[in-house]
Amino acid sequence: MTTVSTAETLALVDEVLTRRAAEPGALLPILHELQDALGFIPADVVPRIAEALNLSRAEVHGVITYYHHFRSQPAAGRVLQICRAESCKAMGADDLIAHAEHKLGCAMHGHSIDGAYTLEPVYCLGLCASSPALMLGDELHGRMTPQRLDALLAQEAQP
């Protein structure tokens, strides 16, 4: 997928860069701010970021690809992150994930058939005392079961 950023996007990027470029170690805060606003980091803004921070494009690209959180492509619809770390496993996370994959018709890191969700693993949400846990958009949910996940998705589907 190629993305050509709109003038509006580029203006936003320039605004963020002007405001933050002088901060010590500014790259991660900048990438976070851009991803929060745009949903991902478009490929064609990488050279602008590199130039503003006096880095090479490869360095900026290297940072974006190193961290699991940053995306180079937009997510489909809402992001559903299910914890697959030990505490959640002990409380049935593997079954919950299998159920979600079946229900959404995609594997981890994939997009649901209807394009409404991106399914991703997460390694601990700090909700281990309420395992298994997941994050849907920016909402946290603990003590999950396949039935509760179904109810949650059904509720989402309502207008």
């Binding site: 991660l28 699991h68 770390a85 030990e86 505490s87 390694y123 700090g126 281990c128 395992s131």
Partner: protein, 510 residues
């Protein structure tokens, strides 16, 4: 007269509906024409009871839980605003056994106060440590921390006072205090609770660390998975600064981006500098050449949060808790398949068995507990024969285990330890920073070898290969990611060989 009702705002309470409960209480009170003042406190850490609603009465705070929105009308009907009887009634909060028998030093205010109320913080002994620190010379503050016996709570258990002394004595124009709030271990949430439930305590600890070492800038590096902690910390910094509590110390929250190894202190510094979070070779240690090459204290949240009480009550007071060279208290975090999952702050020396049964109430499933992983994803799996070892850094090291950040994850007898060993290798492969081969490649090979063992392809040779591979990872890795992944793997293999198809299952058990 207005009645005060507490509904926690901790993430784990929100994740089981605390916001909906708070709204329902407000609506119901309005409908009945009652004057109710809702305070969003932190969590007491009794997570199986969340959302835990408390009411302030003449007899102290009375608890009800776990409360769902649908329970709210019946709570009003039962007169819960004056502590009335109800099926969810738990009595006075402070009298709940789980809480009553703890030794809460660091978590003394947790769940009691409104996390963002400076008045609450002051009313509950807040800033006492800072007030005392302001009367001392930097060396004297460092001496207090040394004398308290406080060791780093992030995993490596290095004495905090020695680290601070190194930074104090280093000559530099700029020094930094970096709070490691990356908390990536499964089964741990005490750092998150501090940031969400008592953020001024962490701020106070960091300001004291600045006074002690001459650092004037602090960073709190936390995880993108912790949005509520980030928001609360940012707001708390704003409030503390506006009220003049930072005394010129600059404090900023920085967000990671989903990388476990960024919890390792040098990878964390790389990430703070805006680079890929790859581990640096030591020496130089961060205390001499840390953030932007300057002398830097890197301490865990709980380490820094333990400092205010040490300065307020004295080193001897703190040191009186604990055993051997493990002084003070540790917030233990019960998680996984456990009935009463939650935070238990106790002096070092409590045993796992006591935690599992006296506090935890046994497994959540009601089935026998089989294996317990202590110390996060790089910690060992402990079989029942090891549950009476006191939680103490040295006692655990003696059985090849680690306390790590105090995370305890319980598995019942349906767990397959070969699957968990495989997962440990897989996690290492996913999260490896890639700098050294034993970790980067070894972990991927480890997954394959465990698969072959499970499928009985040359099982005996493959087990030998797995042991050799673990040996290489232990000795050839630059940091504990590759160096400790063999801990869960080998403990699973050694204590639960039957799960790897290695001994014939007991015919009686079949």
């Amino acid at each position: 007269m207005s009645v005060t009702v507490y509904v926690p705002r901790d993430s784990a309470a929100l994740a089981v509906g605390a916001d909906r409960v708070a709204r329902r209480i407000a609506d119901e009170a309005a409908r009945r024409g009652l004057d109710v003042h809702i305070v969003r406190n932190g969590s007491r850490g009794l997570f199986w009871l969340e959302p835990l609603v408390e009411v302030r009465t003449e007899r102290g705070r009375i608890a009800y839980g776990p409360v769902t929105p649908d329970d709210v009308p019946s709570l009003f009907d039962a007169g819960f605003l004056s502590g009335g009887a109800h099926t969810l009634h738990l009595g006075p909060t402070e009298e709940i056994e789980y809480l009553k028998n703890q030794e809460r030093l660091t978590f003394a205010r947790m769940g009691i106060t409104d996390p963002l109320s400076l008045d609450d913080y002051r009313a509950h002994d807040g800033f006492g440590g800072l007030r005392h620190a302001l009367t001392l010379k930097p060396e004297e503050i460092v001496q207090q921390v040394l004398d308290s016996g406080l060791r780093g709570r992030g995993g490596a258990a290095f004495p905090a006072g020695i680290k601070w002394k190194t930074v104090l004595e280093a000559q530099a124009a700029q020094k930094y205090i970096v709070c490691n709030a990356d908390e990536g271990d499964s089964g741990t949430y005490s750092d998150r609770m501090v940031m969400e439930g008592d953020p001024f305590m962490l701020i106070e600890g960091m300001v004291i660390a600045g006074l002690a070492t001459g650092a004037t800038q602090g960073y709190i590096y936390t995880r993108s998975e912790y949005p509520h902690a980030i928001a609360t910390m940012n707001e708390a910094i704003r409030l503390a600064e506006a009220a003049g509590h930072l005394g010129g110390f600059k404090l900023e929250v920085r967000k990671g981006a989903g990388s476990y190894v960024c919890g390792e202190e040098t990878a964390l510094l790389e990430s703070l500098e805006g680079k890929r979070g790859i581990v640096r070779a030591k020496p130089p240690v961060p205390a001499l050449a840390g953030l932007f090459g300057q002398p830097t204290v890197v301490n865990n949240v709980i380490t820094l949060a333990s400092v205010p009480i040490i300065l307020a009550r004295g080193a001897a007071f703190y040191k009186d808790y604990g055993m051997g060279r493990s002084r003070g208290t540790l917030p233990l975090q019960l998680a996984g398949n456990i009935k009463h999952a939650g935070l238990v702050e106790k002096a070092f020396g409590v045993t796992l068995r006591e935690l599992l049964y006296t506090y935890g109430g046994g497994s959540a499933s009601g089935r026998p507990i089989k294996a317990v992983q202590v110390g996060g994803p790089l910690g060992t799996y402990l079989p029942e024969s090891q549950w009476d070892v006191p939680l103490d850094y040295e006692a655990y090291a003696a059985i090849g285990g680690v306390l790590g950040h105090g995370g305890i994850v319980v598995h019942d007898d349906t767990a397959d330890l070969s699957r968990l060993a495989r997962y440990a290798m897989e996690f290492c492969a996913i999260e490896s920073c890639g700098k050294c081969t034993p970790c980067r490649i070894g972990s991927t090979r480890g997954v394959e070898v465990i698969d072959k063992i499970s499928q009985n392809q040359n099982r005996t040779q493959q087990v030998q290969l797995l042991r050799d591979l673990c040996d290489t990872m232990v000795h050839g890795s630059l940091c504990a990611m590759g160096g400790m992944t063999p801990y869960p793997v080998l403990s699973a293999l050694n204590h639960f060989p039957q799960d790897f198809g290695l001994v014939n299952p007991d015919p009686q058990a079949a």
